[in-house]
């Protein structure tokens, strides 16, 4: 075992972020877990899986800390060049005079100090840690406190590395996971063969969910429609409702406990089972709410009575993992489905219903249904093999999602903002608008912002267009000439629309991206706001 210093963790992050291959990442992770001691390795694991809680330091605070210590102009040049605040600060942070760090801190020490810090002394604790760390350790520390490592490693991949380390199945790890807490010493002991498998004494644990693959070109022709059940794909939130021995938990698909945000639904969970389904709002007997309705319930830690009444949450069930202590995951989908149908029939019909099966004779018929779903919150269809067991993860073959094609709109480029990092010399973030107002007095209203979907060559072309057609500049943003006779039309693809009070246009797009550059299309022929409003009202 090597010394479990912070630098090892920092080095791991540096390598992971630049290693594209999954196998390469797994090698780096298992190697790290094998060669670093407790508790450092367990804390690293928690940081990667997002199970570590450290009070966040805001970027503005970080910037303030560094300009107390160096010339703001030099910092400005540096940040402009690097484009990433955490990286810039890690590089330029001046080592205090006469201070030679003779003790490289461990990850455990760093995490301990950060967790013990109060909101008010947090920044100073951070500054002290940065004083004592090497450049790459500083980067890692800043990543820890600003939240989100962004190293291209999912919690699942980290768990796969653990499975590789202990030569066990990943499902065993996922099932144990919610009964464990950092730094996971007992988990490592088991994986290294030094101890028994930890017992999950806790009840109502999360069970790893089964995910689907997108249908690719040519996939369906190889499949027999008779082997598959079809259901609508509901655009709500995937949840797992677990009740065991009086403990009730509502989990997100990643295993986060979201019971607190949906007390109305949790209160109706008076059964012994683990159900898989989609959380939606409305009353399933009468009407299912739209995505905008659902949004009223998202990203809230607590929720008022009024909102609960206006937008009641319910669960549209599509699978049963266990019922009354019996594990059903090994059964074929057809059998699980019939057990589920019986079971859901006995639950509160205002809170639970069954995701209906969609009958279809062949793929062409299903394609027609997919293109014209009966409800706006349906985003396509799901295909599930009748004989498939419930498998954790994303096995290829048993489950497919076949999404509706995205919506598109022709919009006019209005503003362009300079990008960061490798795009720092390009105007790469585009605000676009559509026409509104009476004929003869039309004006553009911004409806969204997109910064991807185009090729590098197209980026160069748009960048040139922006530079040649700038009418005003404010900071990194340029206002581009856009009127009835001049303007660049962008075909924008998006997944859906929400009502928005923040945007002047009253709509906000989900997942917008530039799908085509319409150099050929006159600006006056771009779409009008009514086209988008029609989508909202559907």
């Amino acid at each position: 075992m090597v010394r479990n210093v912070m630098n090892r963790f920092a080095e791991l992050l540096d390598r992971l972020v630049l290693t594209p291959s999954r196998n390469g990442k797994l090698t780096l992770l298992t190697d790290y877990f094998r060669s670093v001691e407790d508790p450092d390795r367990g804390l690293a694991l928690a940081a990667i899986t997002g199970d570590m809680s450290i009070a966040a330091v805001k970027p503005a605070m970080l910037r303030a800390l560094v300009v107390e210590r160096m010339d703001p102009v030099l910092f400005g040049y540096s940040y402009d060049y690097v484009g990433d605040l955490a990286e810039t600060v890690s590089l330029v942070w001046p080592q205090p005079a006469g201070h030679i760090p003779n003790h490289a801190p461990t990850l455990a020490e760093v995490v301990g100090k950060l967790q013990a810090a109060s909101r008010s002394d947090g920044p100073q604790v951070l500054a002290k840690l940065l004083d004592s760390a090497s450049i790459s350790a500083r980067f890692a520390i800043i990543k820890l406190v600003t939240g989100g490592l962004r190293i291209g490693v999912s919690a699942r991949l980290a768990k796969q590395a653990l499975a590789d380390l202990g030569q066990v199945d990943i499902a065993e790890i996922e099932e144990l996971w919610h009964g464990l807490t950092p730094p996971y010493a007992e988990l490592f002991a088991w994986l290294e063969g030094r101890a028994e498998k930890p017992k999950s004494a806790a009840l109502a644990l999360f069970r790893p969910v089964m995910l689907s693959n997108a249908v690719d070109d040519g996939d369906l022709e190889k499949l027999d429609p008779a082997d598959y059940a079809a259901e609508w794909k509901w655009d709500g939130i995937r949840v797992q409702a677990v009740c065991e021995g009086g403990i009730r938990r509502l989990y997100s698909r990643t295993g986060d406990d979201v019971s607190g945000a949906f007390p109305d639904l949790a209160a109706a969970m008076d059964f012994e089972a683990t159900l898989d389904g989609e959380l939606l709002v409305g009353d399933p007997r009468e009407a299912t709410g739209t995505f905008s309705d659902l949004q009223q319930r998202l990203n809230r830690k607590s929720v008022s009575q009024k909102v609960q009444q206006q937008y009641p949450a319910f669960m549209r069930c599509y699978d049963a993992l266990q019922i009354a202590g019996e594990d059903l995951r090994g059964l074929p989908f057809a059998q699980r489905r019939s057990r589920l149908e019986t079971f859901v029939g006995a639950l509160d019909p205002g809170r639970f219903d069954l995701s209906p099966l969609v009958e279809f004779p062949d793929w062409e018929a299903l394609e027609r249904l997919r293109q014209a779903p009966p409800h706006p919150i349906i985003e396509g269809v799901m295909l599930k093999r009748w004989d498939s067991p419930y498998l954790a993860g994303r096995p290829k073959g048993p489950w497919f999602k076949w999404k509706r094609d995205p919506h598109t709109v022709d919009a006019v480029l209005m503003y362009a903002q300079r990008g960061h990092g490798k795009r720092s010399s390009f105007y790469s973030d585009y605000t676009f608008g559509v026409w509104s107002g009476p004929e003869g007095a039309e004006e553009l209203v911004p409806v969204g912002k997109a910064y991807f979907g185009f090729t590098d060559e197209e980026l160069r072309q748009i960048d040139k267009y922006v530079r040649d057609n700038t009418i005003e500049r404010f900071g990194p943003v340029r206002s581009v000439r856009a009127d009835r006779n001049n303007g660049l039309v962008l075909e924008v693809a998006f997944e859906g629309l929400n009502r928005s009070t923040r945007h002047k246009s009253g709509v906000a797009m989900r997942f917008p991206r530039v799908s085509r550059l319409r150099w050929d299309k006159p600006a006056a022929e771009a779409d009008r706001i009514e086209t988008l409003q029609a989508l909202l009202d559907r």
Binding site: V17, L28, L74, V82, T88, L91, V92
Partner: protein, 336 residues
């Protein structure tokens, strides 16, 4: 004599009117003084060239023996008179043969650093600070974000990765003159005694380094004759960076792209270039070395050239040292 009368930028390069010579001209001139062999500083076609013996040898290897009309070897530390101007060459620590050029006339002394670094490098002589009135510094890495780590740490990371991925090969992009040989030498210093495979473009220069007494160990051409990918399992291969995008690189098994350069300090640069294992090994001074060197020369005035002039000029202002950017055209960062 005013400094700006002793040396001034011209389209051809830095010109000395009283001495009638250029330093590192980018176009053919009558008389050229050359700091080191990188192609943006050392061009062929001058009527006469004054440079260190090793720089002349390197130019000969790169351009052929007739790269200049006449040549004269400058001995480090010895003064040569050119039209009444005193000229001397001093080690710059950049690559083998690299030198700073000190120009002195009527009590005014200017040192043109060429490219330089302060980190130790077993493949060339260390930089010697020369007290002067005006110091012309390069600024390739003239931003406070550039802090080069010790090169031994970088090589240790490479060797660790070679141990972690024994079934793959490690391809190191390194410029053909200087960086490539330094990497080979660092591998030897770290105890790596297997052969290092090299791209053909590195052969002549590496051989020259060896002939100058710099032991690079066993080098083998990265060619496949009758063999296959398996020949390079676990191998460390060094080649010019451009070759890695080439079909040439396909002969190696599941290679890990490494790049030895000061630019690798910036993650986005590594990511953009598809580099998996960045090795921050530079032949240019980093920010700390630049500012320490400026202080050490005791110069009252600093001229900043090729690179990021603005930050270094700003730093000089804060320190109360007169400084200005010297806009010379035609220099790139070939050396890193």
């Amino acid at each position: 004599m005013r400094a700006s009368d002793l040396l001034k930028p011209r389209p051809e390069g830095l010109y000395c009117p009283p001495g009638d010579f250029f330093i590192d001209p980018v176009r053919p001139v009558n008389r050229a003084l050359i700091t080191h062999g990188h192609s943006d500083h050392a061009r062929s076609g001058h009527r006469s060239v004054l440079a260190t013996r090793q720089t002349l040898d390197i130019m000969g290897l790169r351009y052929g023996e007739d790269f200049a009309g006449t040549t004269q070897a400058a001995v480090l530390g010895e003064t040569i008179e050119i039209n009444g101007v005193s000229v001397s060459f001093h080690p710059a620590g950049h690559v083998l043969g690299s030198a700073q050029i000190c120009v002195e006339h009527q009590g005014m002394r200017i040192v043109a650093s060429g490219d330089y670094k302060r980190q130790q490098d077993a493949t060339c002589l260390p930089f010697e600070p020369v007290p002067c009135d005006v110091f012309i510094t390069e600024a390739t890495f003239g931003l406070p974000v550039f802090r080069h780590p010790p090169d031994s740490e970088e090589i240790a990371r490479l060797l660790k990765s070679a141990g972690q991925f024994p079934e793959r090969s490690h391809l190191i992009g390194a410029y053909a003159l200087g960086k490539a040989q330094r990497v080979m030498r660092l591998l030897r210093d770290a105890g790596y005694d297997r052969p290092v495979y090299i791209h053909g473009a590195l052969a002549k220069l590496s051989e020259y380094y060896q002939s100058q007494g710099i032991d690079l160990g066993r080098l083998e051409p990265a060619t496949i004759e009758g063999g296959g990918k398996a020949d390079f399992t676990g191998a460390i291969v060094v080649g010019p960076p451009a070759a890695f995008a080439d079909r040439w690189a396909r002969r190696f098994p599941d290679p890990i792209a490494c790049f030895a350069s000061g630019w690798m300090r910036i993650r986005q640069r590594a990511k953009q270039g598809g580099v998996e294992l960045p090795l921050i090994i530079s032949d240019h001074a980093d920010w700390d070395e630049l500012i320490a060197t400026i202080k050490e020369t005791g110069a009252e005035e600093i001229w900043v050239t090729h690179g990021r002039e603005e930050a270094l000029v700003r730093w000089c202002e804060l320190e109360g040292i007169a400084a200005r950017p010297l806009h010379l055209v035609g220099y790139e960062d070939e050396g890193d």
